[in-house]
């Protein structure tokens, strides 16, 4: 297989590039895929946007998935810092997320919220556009009706291996499936994290636009 070319990098489809203002949902295929799901959101913040990142997480969420780890977060180049809001309930987290989006002080506000209904997601979407911020709901199951602009399903994928040491894990890979979007075609992409920039690039030409679900996202679908 020929190495990835510059043309391919440039051809990263629009849904995968800079996160626009508004609400998205990213659903981890299994609870263990949450780290990949979080990375998928962080890596898509517009590089020029120097505002901080906020996380509204419930204690239950933190117990299940662990806490965001500063040294790991720092690798995403967020030199404006990360604001962690520890909430008792999802209702509190919803409120905190809405405040974070509307404030205009954050480029990305993430919420570990499973149960957000149509009205609540609509409120979040409005707030996000008010503050010119991106909001991403981190979930582990697909919710019901939602006003989110895009819905993703994320799964960690086996890496291609470290070029210097085949036995070691290489740059992280994930499968991103766009299951619903306003005015965009659904699709599945295999993405790889660039270690230097912590941006996503297409990892494999085979998993591209228009192909049906593949990999673990398909199995869980």
């Amino acid at each position: 297989m020929p190495p990835l070319s510059l043309e391919l990098d440039a051809a990263v489809p629009p849904p995968l590039t800079d996160l626009p203002a508004g609400l998205e949902e990213a659903c981890a295929t299994a609870p263990r895929d949450m780290a990949a799901t979080l990375a998928f959101a962080l890596a898509r913040v517009t590089a020029q946007d120097r505002r901080g990142v906020g996380l509204a997480l419930t204690r239950a969420w933190l117990n299940e998935h662990g806490r965001p780890y500063g040294p790991g977060l720092a690798r995403f180049g967020r030199d404006e810092g990360v604001l962690l809001v520890v909430c008792r309930t999802e209702v509190e987290a919803l409120w905190a997320m809405e405040q974070g989006l509307r404030s205009g002080g954050l480029s990305l506000m993430l919420g570990g919220i499973e149960g957000a209904d149509l009205t609540q997601t609509r409120r979040l979407d409005f707030a996000a556009r008010d503050g010119a911020s991106a909001g991403v709901l981190l979930r582990t199951r697909t919710g019901d009706l939602s006003a989110a602009r895009r819905r993703w399903r994320i799964a960690a994928e086996a890496s291609g291996g470290d070029p210097d040491d085949v036995r070691a894990p290489g740059p992280m890979r994930l499968m991103a499936e766009l299951t619903r979007s306003r005015g965009e075609r659904p699709g599945v992409w295999m993405l790889e994290m660039e270690d230097e920039t912590h941006r996503l690039r297409l990892a494999d030409r085979l998993a591209g636009h228009g192909h049906g679900p593949v990999g673990r996202t398909a199995r869980a679908a």
Partner: protein, 514 residues
């Protein structure tokens, strides 16, 4: 300078008890009378008398134990309540700090219709709250103290102090009983008797113990020596208050008054180019208590809208109106200069964003608690779980700056703290695992990187005396493509020889990579 002091009658039991009643304090000399009600005083009992002596005189004397600490707490609460008349209220330290308050009402009396009206109002409010009092206004704390307890006049101007204090007994100078008896022996009965005495002689005979000697007290009363009072709360430089003829009885009433207070406080701050960092809304209740809420801001602000929103999020309902609130005060407890908003083009957006973030932190902290809103900061520890600390965002600088990545090595995005136990099978005792079971699921290792050896600070033994062992960290990818951070605690060989009382090295899950 004008000050007033008011001795406060002890609370409830006295008001109701018809017969003589005394509060008894256990001291080195046995049980003595600590306080009396008027009926007990009328039958000739006095403070400091022993209980046995008093009971011999009045067999039906009602004796109850005294609680000076509770009295001191109650007086302090009353001092805060008295801030409605003055930003600087202190508890009178003489007499065990149980009887009087000093209010610095310099330049404030006109707000209450003059000094006479202020005295009347203070006494009436305290009576409404169930405390009998006597107030006096004088140029010095010492003179006010004397007048409140012994004076016919209740107000004196600076020029009259010497003459008006002259007929008062020497006790009026806040001296202890021993000094008083000594003065009596010398035939010094009134303050006026002291005026012609040579000061050097007085100072020699009455030694100054704890800054409460006769000469110092005289000088303080006459204003020849300054006297520093320590207010119960640091006086707020900026404060606005309103008194209401009809007490407010509910949260809605209090909330409705807040905008007016905020507007006037904001204007006062604006005149000086200041903004508030900490605001407190204090409700003065008719029962002599206060109830208050505070909001903290990451950066100074005088935006009334922002203040009110923060107060609403903190909750006006946290103010307990009791039987009614007859005055509200809004104070800027911490204020700092607020630069005029002249931001260069281009920086304007950045400034607005930073302000948005600061306001966000304020709002989240007000509603969810300061501990709920956190920012990461690196901390120096070899233990990964202690290499960062999530500090309350409010306590940190308003602009969040994270240092550059301090770790050369890969670090997980999510950390399990504390680490979770893992059953692992490794091909070599000190090698990477081949399979492991975590949260009941068995996973096969496809790729592994490591170990990254993290050693304890061996020179710093643990408090509980347990041995701290080395950790070997591995970056693991399982056959499903999931990536983990596992470590083995303890080294085979140097840290585990296989002895019966030794802990075998164990495996732990510490985090997840994306």
């Amino acid at each position: 300078m004008a000050r007033s002091a008011g001795p406060l009658a002890p609370p409830d039991p006295f008001a109701q008890a018809a017969g003589p009643l005394a509060l008894i304090l256990k001291t080195a000399r046995g049980a003595v009378i600590h306080a009396l009600n008027p009926a007990a005083r009328a039958v000739g009992l006095s403070r400091g008398q022993t209980q046995a002596d008093a009971l011999a005189m009045i067999p039906h004397l009602d004796c109850r134990p005294a609680d000076p600490e509770a009295d001191a707490r109650a007086l302090r609460a009353l001092a805060v309540w008295a801030e409605r008349w003055s930003p600087s209220v202190s508890v009178d330290a003489s007499d065990g700090g149980l009887e009087g308050l000093f209010l610095d009402v310099t330049g404030a009396a006109h707000l209450f219709g003059g000094e006479a009206a202020l005295i009347t109002q203070i006494e009436r409010r305290l009576a409404d709250a169930g405390a009998r009092s006597r107030a006096a206004i004088a140029p010095t704390p010492g003179a006010a103290w004397a007048l409140a307890r012994w004076g016919m006049a209740r107000r004196i101007a600076a020029d009259d102090a010497r003459d008006l204090l002259a007929p008062l007994p020497v006790e009026a100078l806040r001296i202890d009983a021993a000094t008083m008896r000594q003065a009596r022996r010398f035939g010094l009965k009134t303050i006026g008797d002291l005026y012609p005495m040579p000061r050097a002689g007085l100072a020699r005979r009455f030694r100054d113990v704890d800054g409460a000697g006769l000469v110092r007290r005289l000088d303080q009363a006459l204003g020849l020596t300054a006297e520093a009072l320590i207010p119960v709360r640091a006086p707020a430089k900026y404060r606005g208050w309103e008194a209401y003829a009809e007490p407010l009885t509910d949260t809605a009433g209090i909330e409705a008054r807040a905008p007016g207070l905020a507007e006037s406080l904001s204007r006062a701050l604006e005149r000086d180019g200041q903004g508030a960092r900490v605001l407190t809304l204090t409700a003065f209740r008719v029962d002599g208590r206060t109830s208050e809420i505070s909001v903290h801001m990451g950066r100074a602000s005088r935006e009334v809208k922002v203040w009110l929103r923060l107060f609403r999020e903190t909750g006006f309902e946290r103010i307990d109106p009791g039987f009614g609130v007859d005055a509200l005060m809004l104070s800027a407890d911490v204020a700092e200069p607020l630069a005029a908003h002249q931001v260069e083009m281009g920086q304007e957006a950045a400034a607005r964003q930073a302000e948005g973030l600061a306001a966000l932190i304020d709002r989240l902290s007000a509603r969810l608690g300061e501990d709920a809103v956190r920012v990461a900061s690196p901390a120096g520890s070899w233990l990964p779980e202690r290499a960062e600390r999530w500090r309350p965002a409010l306590a940190s600088a308003p602009v969040l700056v994270e240092g550059p990545a301090t770790h050369e090595r890969a670090r997980p995005l999510m950390l399990l703290d504390p680490p979770e136990p893992v059953e692992a099978i490794a091909e070599l005792p000190d090698g990477a695992p081949a399979r492991f079971t975590w949260r009941r699921v068995c996973r096969r290792v496809a790729r592994a990187d490591g170990p990254e050896r993290l050693s304890p600070e061996w020179w710093r033994p643990r408090a509980d005396g347990r041995q701290v062992r080395t950790r070997d960290y591995y970056r693991i990818e399982d056959d499903q493509g999931l990536r983990y951070w596992l470590f083995r605690e303890g080294l085979y060989g140097p840290e585990y020889m296989g002895g019966p009382d030794e802990r075998a090295p164990s495996w732990w899950m510490h985090g997840m990579f994306p």
